[in-house]
């Protein structure tokens, strides 16, 4: 009798509809949040760089990008740390140029959509950022004079430079600014295409229920967490999945290293940068970016703040954080779940981060969601030297 009852109960359970994957629905608030994330088709132009949209400048920039001859030891190019085959970053936790650096190399995919450049935002334009690694002793260790020699020594480079700037090669900061603007013109082309998430958002906007069904269910659950309980969008906001600003996560420094100042140092460098948006080398000295500089000032809270990275294409850019201390996206999500190892922030610190206490399936769902932010890479001809 007991056996029969057990069998009957077991059959009943087997026949009952399990919590169905198919029945999962986003709540209205999350659905609306996703639907409104429509990406601008192209990044806004940067008027501080008059060469930005010139294909000849972009080609010249591409040539510079892959030229190790620009570095002091002849062995390091921009592509060494921002490798097209590795999502325009490297798998190294800390980037290594001529010497070791203290930070992870950020990806250059979609970089021209950023408001600030570098983990501490030390540059306000892409072209001025491109000059930094050229000169940094541990990166390419070059100089304007080295750059001029490298251009003269390379007939293709010299010819294209002449075509844009005439027979006389500029010198000093003017030459560096030209190089930075060409590199930025190339990097503007490193744009990625629409992702599975963009297709979901478009389907929700247009009421295309069938189109929305193509989105993976595990990722959909992850989206519900991202825009709901986990509230990741608080910092990873908008269609670029970044608020373009700076936050302190309390990440401890790499063992043995001093604490990285982050935005504090970045702002100090920006405000004294001779290539900033209102400098003599800018092509829009009184434009919006230049005017914004007047509203920046260091505050104590800048200590240890780092730029919120975009989450687009994040699956391509491991390892993660400004020191590359998390090898996988699971590690990152797990950190936000527990905040284990996070240093206590001062009593002036922001309180946006609280442990999310995610379950293992929820961590998988968030990782699955992040995977749907991957768009098509730029065309093949941009992934190598011209």
């Amino acid at each position: 009798m007991l056996l029969v009852a057990t069998i009957l109960v077991a059959r009943a359970v087997a026949a009952a509809p399990a919590p169905s994957e198919e029945s999962f629905q986003l709540d209205e608030r999350v659905r609306a949040a996703i639907a409104r994330l429509e990406r601008e088709r192209a990044p806004a132009p940067d008027p501080t760089n008059r060469h930005e949209l010139d294909p000849r400048a972009a080609r010249l920039g591409q040539r510079l990008y892959f030229d190790a001859g620009l570095s002091a030891n002849g062995a390091v190019s921009c592509a060494s740390c921002h490798d097209p085959a590795q999502g325009f970053t490297t798998r190294d936790a800390l980037a290594t140029g001529i010497g070791a650096t203290a930070r992870n190399a950020p990806t250059l995919l979609d970089v021209s959509r950023r408001r600030w450049f570098g983990w501490g935002g030390r540059n306000d334009t892409l072209w001025s950022q491109a000059i930094v690694p050229l000169l940094a002793p541990h990166e390419m260790g070059s100089s304007a004079a080295d750059l001029a020699r490298a251009i003269e020594a390379n007939p293709a480079l010299r010819g294209e430079w002449r075509e844009l700037h005439g027979d006389t090669l500029a010198a000093g900061d003017e030459l560096l600014a030209q190089a930075g603007k060409h590199l930025a013109a190339y990097q503007r082309l490193l744009a990625t295409g629409p992702s599975a998430f963009d297709r979901l958002a478009a389907a929700l906007r247009s009421g295309d229920a069938q189109g929305a069904k193509h989105y993976p269910l595990q990722a959909l659950r992850g989206a519900a967490l991202f825009f709901g309980k986990a509230n990741c969008r608080s910092c990873h906001a908008g269609p670029e999945f970044t608020d373009e600003e700076f936050h302190d996560l309390g990440l401890p420094p790499v063992r043995g290293a001093k604490r990285d100042e982050g935005r504090r140092e970045g702002l100090r460098q920006l405000l004294s940068d001779r290539f900033r948006a209102d400098s003599a080398h800018s092509d829009a000295r009184e434009g919006e970016r230049a005017r914004e500089l007047a509203h920046l000032a260091p505050v104590d809270e800048d200590w240890g703040r780092f730029k919120t990275p975009s989450l687009r294409n994040v699956t391509r850019t491991a390892p993660y954080m400004h020191t590359g201390q998390f090898a996988t996206l699971r590690d990152v999500v797990r950190f936000y779940s527990t905040l284990e190892g996070a240093a206590a922030r001062g009593h002036h610190g922001e309180t946006v981060l609280q442990p999310l206490n995610l379950t293992e399936p929820e961590i998988d769902e968030l990782v699955a969601f992040l995977g749907t932010l991957e768009g098509d890479l730029p065309p093949e001809h941009l992934l190598r030297a011209p």
Binding site: G238, A294, H295
Partner: protein, 178 residues
């Protein structure tokens, strides 16, 4: 209300002017940013006041705050701040400006000697803006607030601190941004 933004929508487009005025020498409050100077404050708010003119002895003719603006009383009820933004809808991550007029509660006459400082923060995050706004008094008696940007979604509290002699009263507006 524009899709994608849950926030305060200002009613009137701004006929912005760049006209400013000089603070009489020695009257700049700490952190005051006045047209012609370029050093912003290192703390959170910016402040400006003091109308054009050779001294306090020259009274400014009574001027009225425009009608039809958003307005909010200071917390002790002495003043009312009439304000509008440019663009009219404040969006997360987009720079905006404010124009504000200060009157006494129950009056439309602009308070001639009032000064204004402006700041904002996210009370749920314990942080504010990453920008230092610049406030300059305009010739029509209003204040122009430049350099505002709310970078995160969520609740923002916008503060108008009205200074008159030793009195400081705060008016505050809550906004919820996507």
């Amino acid at each position: 209300m524009k899709a994608g933004v849950l926030c305060l929508v200002y009613l009137t487009a701004l006929p912005w002017t760049s006209a400013g005025c000089r603070v009489p020498e020695g009257r700049s409050a700490p952190g005051t940013t006045v047209e012609g100077e370029s050093t912003p404050r290192a703390d959170s708010a910016a402040r400006a006041g003091a109308p054009d003119g050779p001294s306090r002895a020259a009274p400014v003719p009574a001027r009225l705050a425009p009608e039809g603006l958003q307005s909010v009383a200071t917390n002790l009820g002495t003043f009312r701040v009439h304000h509008r933004s440019d663009p009219a809808t404040i969006e997360r991550g987009k720079p905006f400006r404010l124009q504000a007029w200060i009157t006494r509660e129950g009056s439309r006459e602009i308070v001639p000697w009032a000064e204004l400082s402006v700041d904002a923060d996210m009370p749920e995050h314990l942080h504010g803006m990453n920008r230092v706004p610049k406030v300059t008094r305009q010739q029509d008696g209003s204040f122009l607030v430049e350099g505002m940007l709310f970078h995160m979604p969520g609740r923002w509290d916008l503060y108008f601190d009205v200074h008159e002699a030793a009195i400081v009263e705060r008016a505050q507006v809550a906004l919820d941004l996507w």
